[in-house]
């Protein structure tokens, strides 16, 4: 490595090698102990007959210290918000407060059974109701379901309601308009609900082209799915015009709330014409991403869509206690068993309590401030394809670096050597070679400065020694992995040596 470019954030450090758990297994090792049986033993062969399982195959046998070491060693190979800035655009990798984890594990909440009597479920119901009320106030909407398990299922739920609404008017309509800057789940969801997808071009400022929308909007269009701020981090300034255009022709406006972290406490989608939207509790409301889930994707709607919300909903009964309402003839049905990812409701509500109205507003302001600080710091070093004002994230392109043959993914891999997780690469699709950066409010100025320094340093390296960047990462346990081979001949599980594949 060129000695000139010293990374201030990270230093190489010994970490442990660790094989697969199966490679440590040997008969007789155990990490479990059951209490003595207080009822008579049973003859399993007699009870189960041919249904009795005789062998658990290659399941491991290991000791407790081996388990602790195994997973601890694996964990040290991960990057995490707890280690530093995680600037993935549109993912909102903010700090996950530990009080959230603590309260989610309080006995009655962790051990509550979804079918226990309502009489002894008032605590859980109150949490759901309080969170619902807070989210409705934050979004400016009228009614809400907490049931969807993640953002994509929230989209599904929202579009099912759109469909049910149009069907109740006698015509389900045929298609959903989706801007070319949208997240891939949007078109995938529309297809799942049986709608055709029609692309909507963005204008030169990176926003929905209102004239194009007016031309494309007709009675076949059920809804427009818009992300606001969009995936360029740009607020759709003509959002109300967009809403009016939709409404004039009887269509609905769906807002993907993935970027709600730019709006909380500053503006409300319900006020600017949105009919239905989902939230990602694992983005805006600080529930942990956990290496890819669990998420939670509540869907908030205007009154006209309330009859179609999934079953059940939480209600206050005449005697003042809370309960579930199942008798909802116009409901789109259930999108998952039970009531949703309740544990995430607890965490999100703890986050809202810890912030209050002032805290939530400041959170939004700091998130937007941090993104603009990074934009200012890197402007000139990286190409800014749209100079429209940024909200909570900023999108650069690799236009300048690609002249040396270095693309966004290469820059991202080099960023790893500097001790940062990469930004989102190659998305949104409307920016060739995109670098999508979202710092969130969690980052102190010191961390932002380190990031800016790292990015500038990488840009210099591209000029001096592009090959070095192309070969990155240099400091990780493993170098770039052969993804093509992985997909061509998939090895998706371990097998003992000698066992036929």
């Amino acid at each position: 490595m060129t000695t000139k470019h010293v990374t201030r954030k990270a230093t190489r450090h010994i970490n442990q090698n660790e094989g697969l758990i199966f490679e440590k297994s040997s008969p007789g090792k155990a990490a479990w102990k059951l209490p003595p049986l207080d009822v008579p033993e049973v003859d399993t062969a007699k009870l189960l007959g041919k249904q009795e399982r005789k062998d658990l195959g290659n399941m491991p046998e290991v000791s407790e210290i081996e388990i602790i070491r195994h997973f601890t060693r694996l964990s040290t190979w991960n990057y995490a918000i707890d280690l530093g800035m995680y600037p993935l655009g549109s993912c909102t990798m903010k700090y996950n407060p530990r009080v959230n984890e603590f309260v989610a594990r309080v006995e009655g909440l962790a051990n509550g059974h979804p079918y226990q009597a309502e009489k002894i479920s008032q605590g859980a119901l109150r949490i759901m109701q309080t969170l619902s009320e807070c989210l409705l106030e934050i979004t400016g909407m009228d009614a809400i379901t907490l049931q969807p398990a993640a953002g994509a299922q929230g989209e599904l739920t929202g579009l099912l309601m759109v469909r049910a609404y149009h069907e109740s008017k006698g015509n389900a309509r045929k298609k959903i308009l989706i801007p070319d800057s949208a997240h891939g789940t949007n078109p995938a969801t529309a297809a799942t609900v049986g709608y055709a997808v029609e692309n909507l071009k963005s204008n030169s400022r990176g926003m929905v082209d209102v004239a194009a929308l007016a031309a494309q909007m007709n009675e076949d269009v059920a809804a427009l799915m818009v992300t606001n701020p969009n995936t360029l981090g740009v607020f759709e300034q003509e959002i109300h015009k967009i809403a009016d255009l939709m409404h004039e022709k009887g269509g609905l406006l769906y807002m993907d709330g993935a970027n709600m972290n730019a709006l909380v406490g500053k503006t409300r989608p319900g006020d600017f014409g949105v009919d239905v939207m989902h939230l990602n509790l694992h983005k805006t409301f600080s529930t942990p991403h956990g290496g890819g889930g669990p998420g939670s994707g509540p869907v908030a709607v205007k009154k006209i869509l309330a009859p179609f919300l999934p079953t059940p909903i939480v209600i206050t009964k005449p005697d003042g206690t809370l309960g579930f309402e199942y008798n909802r003839p116009q409901s789109v049905g259930r999108v998952r068993a039970f009531y949703g990812n309740f544990g995430m409701f607890v965490r999100a509500l703890a986050y809202i309590f810890a912030n209050g109205p002032d805290g939530l507003r400041q959170t939004t302001e700091d998130a937007v401030l941090n993104a603009n600080y990074i934009r200012k710091g890197l402007e000139g070093t990286f190409d800014l394809p749209y100079d429209t004002p940024s909200m909570h994230e900023v999108v650069f392109s690799d236009k300048l670096q690609s002249k040396k043959g270095v693309r966004t993914m290469d820059l991202a891999k080099r960023l790893i050597d500097y001790g940062f997780h990469p930004y989102t690469t190659a998305f949104p699709l409307i920016v060739p070679g995109a670098l999508m950066i979202e710092p969130t409010e969690s980052e102190p100025k010191e961390e932002l400065d380190l990031f800016i320094e790292a990015m500038k340093s990488i840009a210099e390296e591209v000029e001096e020694d592009p090959q070095y960047v192309l070969d990155a990462p240099h400091n990780t346990r493993i170098s770039r992995l052969d993804e093509t081979a992985a997909a061509r001949k998939p090895v998706l599980r371990w097998k003992p040596e000698g066992q036929p594949a």
């Binding site: 964990s75 909440l109 106030e137 109300h240 889930g293 997780h421």
Partner: protein, 472 residues
């Protein structure tokens, strides 16, 4: 920072939002609270939420012991606060853990491979049906009525707009799917047969016989498993084409219904039609073993509207809990754990059988059983609550013909004294003894019909007086 950006006030950054839509007031939400206040508030809610009750509820959500190493490990920030492992070099921990999870799920289910997780057992079953439609190019599905009723509701929600008609097949006096009816229901356009085993009543299905019927007509067999702990002692559905499992039993808190951990397992030949993330093994430039997310061309971020599913976020951290649980119990422990479940349930069925009728006893069961009483089960449950016991799930909401039957569950955490107390308490009302004698002389069908009529009268009068005692 404002100076560096060149703004005088933070409001300038929000100028893109048209003034008329800017919020000029505080949000009307609770004021900011101190950590101690937050903890107190949730502890109070916990007290109102069944804290300290012993429970006999199962029905898709099971109370098993969770070894403490699970929470010790999943709360490591490197697992808790990392993102989906798209940047493989910086996420090998999560990726290797997923690879091990996929391996263990495949071993336990008797399938060739498994994915990284789905939202839960209900959406997993629905996704499995849509996968079967893609694999076979056929368009209808045959569903057993003893599949979890809420799983079926979710499937209906998904299937409606995919134009997948469903045929329901009912169950016999053994609680198992009616094979004759199944035989008639499966046709040349049947993409799949979806069953659950152990089924919603806790009864183990004859999977091989069902597979034969499905395969004979070229349909796939999907087996939903809601109680993963059964896999320690019950033969896995090796003849199935897809297993759609809910793995909550493996170290995931009940948590009032979620988050849980669905997972799909299948045969290698179907992998390209499987939804959800997959971790695969590969090598780096120096030939060192490593893991990546693979076969992404199935997924929404590449294929958009042509993807196998719209799923994006899954249940990674919950899958890690499952992973650690499977590692702790392992090859021997999972079997011993399952045996204890079996023993407790056999004992409980015997004790309950003294005071009421235990239905569906002719087929093997795992850790759930259906108890029919002469008294309305809601009334029984209300009496049990007074003793800090949560009784079984009354079934009439889902199966009106089962009248006063309720679904009870025992796990390794159910004590003999809990069982004895509950079995005694269900007998406290008048007439149950008489009824149990009487119904033992009748065929199960007649008796269920009779008690169903009785119960509808009773429940009507109950509704007016004690609505809060109805269990859901």
């Amino acid at each position: 920072m404002q100076q560096a950006i060149g703004i005088r006030s933070i409001d300038e950054l929000f100028a893109p939002i048209p003034a008329e839509y800017r919020l000029s007031r505080d949000l009307a939400i609770p004021r900011q609270m101190a950590e101690s206040e937050i903890v107190d508030w949730f502890k109070q809610r916990s007290k109102e939420n069944g804290e300290g009750y012993a429970s006999f509820l199962g029905a898709g959500a099971y109370f098993h012991y969770r070894p403490v190493v699970i929470d010790a490990l999943v709360q490591r920030g490197e697992f808790l606060t990392s993102y989906t492992p798209y940047q493989a070099e910086f996420a090998q921990g999560t990726l290797q853990a997923i690879f091990e999870f996929q391996t263990m799920i495949a071993e336990l289910t008797g399938m060739e491979l498994a994915n990284a997780s789905m939202y839960d057992g209900s959406t997993g079953a629905a996704e499995a049906v849509m996968m079967a439609v893609r694999v076979t190019g056929r368009h209808s599905a045959v569903i057993a009525r003893n599949v979890h009723p809420e799983y079926r509701e979710v499937l209906t929600t998904y299937a409606t707009h995919q134009a997948i008609p469903q045929k329901l097949v009912s169950f016999t006096v053994s609680g198992q799917i009616d094979l004759q009816e199944l035989e008639k229901a499966v046709g040349d356009d049947t993409a799949c047969v979806l069953i659950q085993s152990p089924n919603f009543f806790g009864t183990i299905e004859d999977v091989e016989a069902i597979a034969e019927i499905a395969h004979k007509r070229g349909a796939l067999l999907i087996v939903s498993i809601a109680e993963a702990a059964s896999l320690g002692i019950v033969e896995p559905p090796r003849v199935a084409d897809i297993v759609a499992m809910e793995a909550q039993s493996f170290g995931v808190p009940l948590g009032f219904g979620g988050p849980y951990c669905g997972v799909l397992a299948t045969k290698e030949k179907f992998v390209r039609q499987m939804p959800g993330r997959l971790a695969g093994q590969t090598v780096d430039k120096n030939g060192k073993r490593g893991f990546v997310l693979t076969l992404a061309t199935r997924e929404q971020h590449i294929r958009r509207e042509k993807a196998t599913s719209n799923i994006c976020t899954n249940q990674a951290l919950v899958a890690l809990m499952v992973n650690i649980f499977m590692t702790v119990y392992g090859k021997v422990g999972l079997r011993e754990l399952a045996k204890q479940n079996l023993a407790k349930t056999a004992y409980a069925a015997g004790q309950f059988g003294k005071n009421a009728r235990v239905l569906f006893s002719s087929a093997p069961r795992f850790n759930e059983f259906v108890v029919e009483t002469s008294e309305d089960p809601y009334a029984i449950n209300s009496r049990l609550l007074g003793h800090k016991i949560v009784g079984g799930l009354p079934l009439k909401k889902f199966y009106p013909e089962l009248g006063n039957a309720a679904l009870w569950c025992c796990t390794e955490l159910t004590t003999r004294s809990m069982i004895d107390t509950a079995a005694g308490l269900i007998a406290e009302s008048d007439g149950s003894e008489q009824n149990s004698k009487q119904s033992s002389q009748q065929s199960s069908k007649e008796s269920s019909e009779k008690s169903s009529q009785k119960s509808s009268k009773r429940s009507k009068s109950k509704k007016d007086t004690e609505p809060e005692e109805v269990a859901r």
